[in-house]
Amino acid sequence: MSLEWQAAWQAVTHHPLFGVGITLGAYQLAMAAYEKTRWVFLQPVLVSMLTVIGILLLCGLSYAEYQGSVAALTLFLGPVTVALAVPLFLNLRRIRQLLWPILITLAVAGVFATVLGVGLAWLLGAEQIMLMSMAPKSVTSPIAMLVASQIGGIAALAAVFVMITGIIGAICGPALLKRFGVRHQAALGMALGLTAHAVGTARALQESEECGAFAALAMSLMGVVTAVLLPLAILMLL
């Protein structure tokens, strides 16, 4: 008798759990590699992303199908975002001591990050729709997607730029900041959360709990402020 290898392969790769399976597998491999080497370029999110994309391409699966099969994982991003309130609250005392530095950094560096990104892309000749998808690059993806579609960009592209920004920030951020003499945990966390949102916050949590709390704070403040002010600013400028 002949075994139906082809049919079995199809059944496995198109099973609803296949996406979850490769994501879990890739993530654990990436974590193990990172913990063993502690090499900054092996950021777990980046390595898992590349591994998963590789497997999907090899198996001939589309992103749409993968997205459908990992919906259960994606669903938990909501409660996790809510859970960030806990480290925020636990570090409230330290945050209160640094209230003015936080507010000033948020206002000045937040505007700077957004304007610089759009300005550079404009100078380098990117299209208007690209610019509008890029404007919210420093905020967490659900907000970025909303804001981008409000100001005339493409929501999914915005999510991609957000991810790229976050991954670069997580890879280069801590080493770069330390080289420029930024040693205070609050300043490290603030810079990571403000510019590299959730991925930066995940990276900051690896540094220390205090660093993570400031990153979560910066990420949520930056998100809220961008969601409210960026559409208004674009409306007034155009």
């Binding site: 992103y63 993968y66 991003l77 975002t81 859970a83 480290p87 936080i102 000749g125 995940a202």
Partner: protein, 119 residues
């Protein structure tokens, strides 16, 4: 314990979603949910054990949960390829400059505040 904490998180997110539809279309549900939970913790003055357990277990897996949205890059490979150098250059340069600027500014402000308290 874990389930009770998780229920609180889900409840806050659902309340956030309701508020998002009713009043605040520009803020996504989870962010409103986080602000709600934060407000609730402020009122209560402490983090209960179930909530602490649920949030720290979930936060441990934050990088894992970010993998699926990151894989979304592959769906827009063509659109990015068209403007690749402009986009990549702008993203990289602006991130590197603004992350250093944010960290440097925050550090300076912290130092200044500490000096003033010492005087």
């Amino acid at each position: 314990m874990l389930l009770r904490g998780l229920s609180w998180l889900v409840l806050c997110q659902l309340l956030g979603t309701a508020l998002n539809v009713l009043l605040l279309p520009m803020l996504p549900g989870p962010i409103i949910g986080m602000l709600l939970l934060f407000g609730f913790l402020l009122l209560r003055g402490e983090v209960g054990e179930p909530l602490h357990q649920a949030s720290s277990s979930l936060l441990k897996y934050l990088p894992l949960l970010l993998v699926p949205p990151a894989v979304g890059v592959m769906a827009y490979a063509e659109a990015i390829a068209a403007d690749f150098w402009a986009v990549a250059g702008a993203l990289l340069l602006s991130l590197l400059i603004s992350i250093v600027f944010a960290g440097w500014l925050m550090q300076k402000l912290i130092d200044r505040q500490q000096r003033r308290e010492d005087v």
